[in-house]
């Protein structure tokens, strides 16, 4: 049997479906209501993860593909993100309690200025924190991350030295972070939707049925137990590929 995972990633799917099935009359026209509930679920799951000893938690907050959604919903999401980033930096918030560091991974230039500035400020303020790490993927897709890493590697390439995999990995947004042990996508969908495709070679992919706002401690404990059953197998293949590098 295995240890507590060091890094869990979440695809927080199902907020809109939850809002549809649980909405009151006022909420039904509000495009951000499901996402607000989703944020509450994020905070409680973060707390459980950090108490369990999970050092890195990554969440897929907003994909580049999501910009194609209804503009009202996109705006509501951006406003929510800015408000919550500011809230997370206040005293008494979860980040302060755990002395956690926050990262924002993605093509931040695609974000509206208020959100981008809030994100950069949050990263600066928490950069020296020694506790667990929360990485928020916003304006992110894995293929865009690979594209960005290739650009950076080509920019720094010197004559007669070939670009190799370690150069690309050094230029990824995720450089310095261990690879995820588990990726959990809620609401039962079985695809990764362009999330951490490069980093998930030996990651246990879990697709539980509950929607994100319904995902709670017992689901998380179950997820960790499931991971522990296959930990040995994944570690074996990870070791084999390290040896062959």
């Amino acid at each position: 049997m295995g240890p507590i995972p060091a890094h869990i990633a979440f695809i927080m799917d199902g907020n809109r479906r939850y809002a549809k099935t649980h909405a009151s009359h006022q909420d039904s026209t509000d495009p951000g209501s499901g996402h607000r509930v989703g944020f509450k679920s994020l905070i409680s799951n973060l707390q459980y993860c950090y108490e369990m000893g999970v050092k890195y938690v990554t969440v897929y907050a907003f994909s580049i593909d999501n910009f194609r959604r209804d503009p009202h919903e996109v705006q509501a999401l951006m406003d929510l993100m800015k408000a919550k980033i500011d809230e997370l930096l206040t005293e008494g918030s979860l980040l302060k309690k755990f002395d956690a560091r926050i990262n924002f991974w993605g093509n931040l230039e695609l974000l509206a200025e208020p959100v981008r500035l809030a994100a950069k400020k949050a990263m600066e303020v928490t950069v020296h924190n020694k506790g667990p790490v929360l990485s928020v993927c916003v304006a992110y897709t894995s293929t865009d991350e690979i594209r960005h890493a290739i650009e950076a590697s080509v920019r720094e390439k010197r004559e007669n030295v070939q670009i190799d995999v370690s150069d690309l990995e050094r230029n990824m947004y995720t450089a310095g972070c261990v690879e995820p042990d588990i990726i959990i996508r809620t609401s039962g969908e079985t695809r990764l939707s362009n999330f951490l495709l490069w980093q998930s070679d030996f990651t246990h992919l879990q697709m539980p049925n509950p929607l994100w706002p319904e995902f709670s401690l017992r689901h998380l404990v179950w997820a960790v137990l499931e991971y522990q059953k296959v930990h040995g197998y994944l570690k074996k293949w990870k070791g084999e590929t390290e040896k062959n590098k």
Partner: protein, 301 residues
């Protein structure tokens, strides 16, 4: 020493689960007492023994927590056994032909199928052969076979000899660092391995660099390379590593993990865990294809 470390890890799992439950269960007091005596394996959350709660339980509690830990895992095992039984019954019903919906599968959305097989299991050539036959029976036209070590690539020539008729065979050169493609049973089969993933992207990066530097007159100083995703797709094609994106990916192995399948091709691929290759069933494949035909993707919208 290893057992001690293992025991500490086990205790840490349970300790953390229990301390997190403090807020949600009425066994708060018991959880508090147990939680005081355990510390995480990395030592950073060392909990000091509370003097007011000092009990001899530290000797007793550890084996109890150990039992609880194995109990939790036993519950997970039971749940797996239950799901497995339900799954077997479903497969039995499907293979009996009682349900007409499984008879005529609509595969128009399934243009390309990927199959990830654990390398140890991929050595069982007859099983892989059988799988290809079943996929062809169902109507799949393009299959991408992946195993991390390239076992299937290495035995590709044997496949061609044993499975294809003379008119079907397309013999190709045998470079282990590029995909291997052949036709069999009326399907196109592409065989890839770990080197067709990240290393292929590195090759594409070098290709893009050489194209970028030849496009510039004079020096590169001050010129920023700017590539789009279509540029990278073209570069992958130029270095011999392009290939269609599979709509569905089946994983045959002990864990649901894609084991290094090329990242660039997996953006919206539905990933389904089929269990071990040794216990594969035709009806399980039919079920997966039926469920896939009912799926709806928003593609982010």
């Amino acid at each position: 020493m290893k057992n001690d470390h293992h025991r500490k890890e086990r205790d840490a799992t349970l300790f953390h689960a229990i301390s997190a439950y403090q807020r949600t269960t009425i066994a708060n007091e018991l959880a508090c007492i147990f939680s005081r005596y355990f510390y995480s394996v990395n030592g950073s959350y060392k909990i000091l023994i509370s003097p007011s709660k000092m009990i001899e339980a530290s000797v007793i509690a550890s084996p109890i927590l150990g039992i609880l830990y194995y109990l939790l895992h036993a519950i997970v095992c039971l749940a797996h056994i239950w799901s497995y039984l339900i799954y077997q019954i479903q497969c039995l019903i499907i293979s009996s032909g009682l349900l007409p919906k499984y008879q005529n599968l609509k595969l128009d959305r399934l243009q390309h199928l990927a199959v990830v097989i654990d390398s140890e299991e991929a050595k069982n050539k007859s099983k892989v052969h059988q799988l290809l036959l079943w996929l062809s029976d169902v109507g799949v036209k393009y299959v991408i076979l992946y195993d991390i070590e390239g076992v299937m690539k290495k035995s590709n020539k044997a496949f061609q000899k044993s499975t294809a008729t003379q008119s079907d065979t397309k013999c190709l050169d045998f470079d282990l660092n590029v995909p291997s493609i052949f036709d069999v049973f009326g399907m196109t089969v592409e065989v890839i391995s770990y080197t067709d993933g990240k290393e292929a992207v590195a090759k594409a990066a070098n290709y893009l660099f050489s194209k970028f530097s030849t496009n510039q007159e004079g020096t590169l100083d001050g010129l920023e390379p700017k590539f789009t995703e279509p540029d990278i797709s073209s570069a992958l094609k130029a270095v011999g590593h392009d290939g269609p994106e599979p709509d569905l990916l089946l994983v045959y192995g002990p864990a649901r993990c894609h084991l290094g399948f090329p990242a660039w091709r997996m953006r919206y691929t539905e990933i389904v865990h089929m269990g071990r290759l040794s216990s594969m069933k035709f009806s399980a494949i039919v079920k997966v294809f039926y469920d896939f035909s009912k799926k709806h993707q928003n593609y982010g919208k």
